[in-house]
Symmetry: D3
Subunit: 64 residues, 6 copies
């Protein structure tokens, strides 16, 4: 019954999201006693220019 929110960079395909939603739901049921009905997984597809890590904005990062 829980609600899971995923913040990640935009760019994943529908097929990737499909498998991700399934896998996270399975993890919740197996490890957290969650019932799958009414269990939401909401993905926020965030542009790189709106995400900073260690003080550096996405487009300026040199490690990705």
């Amino acid at each position: 019954m829980p609600v899971v929110t995923v913040e990640m960079w935009e760019g994943r395909t529908v097929e990737q999201k499909r498998r991700l939603v399934k896998a996270i739901t399975d993890a919740m049921v197996e490890h957290a006693d969650a019932r799958p009905d009414a269990l939401h997984v909401i993905i926020h597809d965030v542009p790189r220019e709106s995400w900073g890590l260690a003080g550096v904005l996405g487009p300026d990062r040199t490690d990705v």
Copy 2:
């Protein structure tokens, strides 16, 4: 003074959002002793392909 965040599928009209914001704000004032000034209602319009329920991604659901 609270902050309310609404995650829902994209597709609502501006008029629907207008009435929703008004109604949620009224509910907060009436039932939660909230002051309306500085009370935010923020709507996240989430694409169907970024939302899973019961392990099934939006576009794959057969009940909607």
Copy 3:
């Protein structure tokens, strides 16, 4: 089917939360074409010392 998150100061009674959850759910159904099943309202009861408004922490505010 949406998910609504309410951030507010701790201190509301269970009866206030009961009525708030009902009123917000009704608002979602009436104004946003939401189905009530699988519609979550999650309340975060935030201590005053963990909330700032206009740069002033809760316990330091003189207007409340």
Copy 4:
């Protein structure tokens, strides 16, 4: 690198959280091209009295 937030009822053990964090992280790496370093999983342990489903507050639900 993403950030995953889990809203669920309080009451899970540390061991359950340990396995859940591991499983969600693995799911992100396998299905969403995520790098595990800097990948956060944050759990909000929400009291039943602060969570409503389908307009009904946690303590009033008869199905759980």
Copy 5:
């Protein structure tokens, strides 16, 4: 190591976001004992028509 989420109206430039991410990260390190590595700042660029303040939807406000 924390995660900071900023909800604001869309319309800021990349340069504004660059400086904002840097300044918030610095504030976390200086005032909250945070380590900068793995410290995320995530910006949600919200359309005005999806944000209400004091019960009034963004496009209807007369003070901005």
Copy 6:
């Protein structure tokens, strides 16, 4: 007018939170054209046992 949410480990003092709220608000005003009135900074004080990084739960980490 924006809303900033900070997820961090519990344990900061009120004085640390006071200075953090002030510094983040200043950063928003200086770099993001934000008006300080109605600008919220909400801190979620998360227990270590409810936070995983790189698949490892807080109490199991050896780097902190």
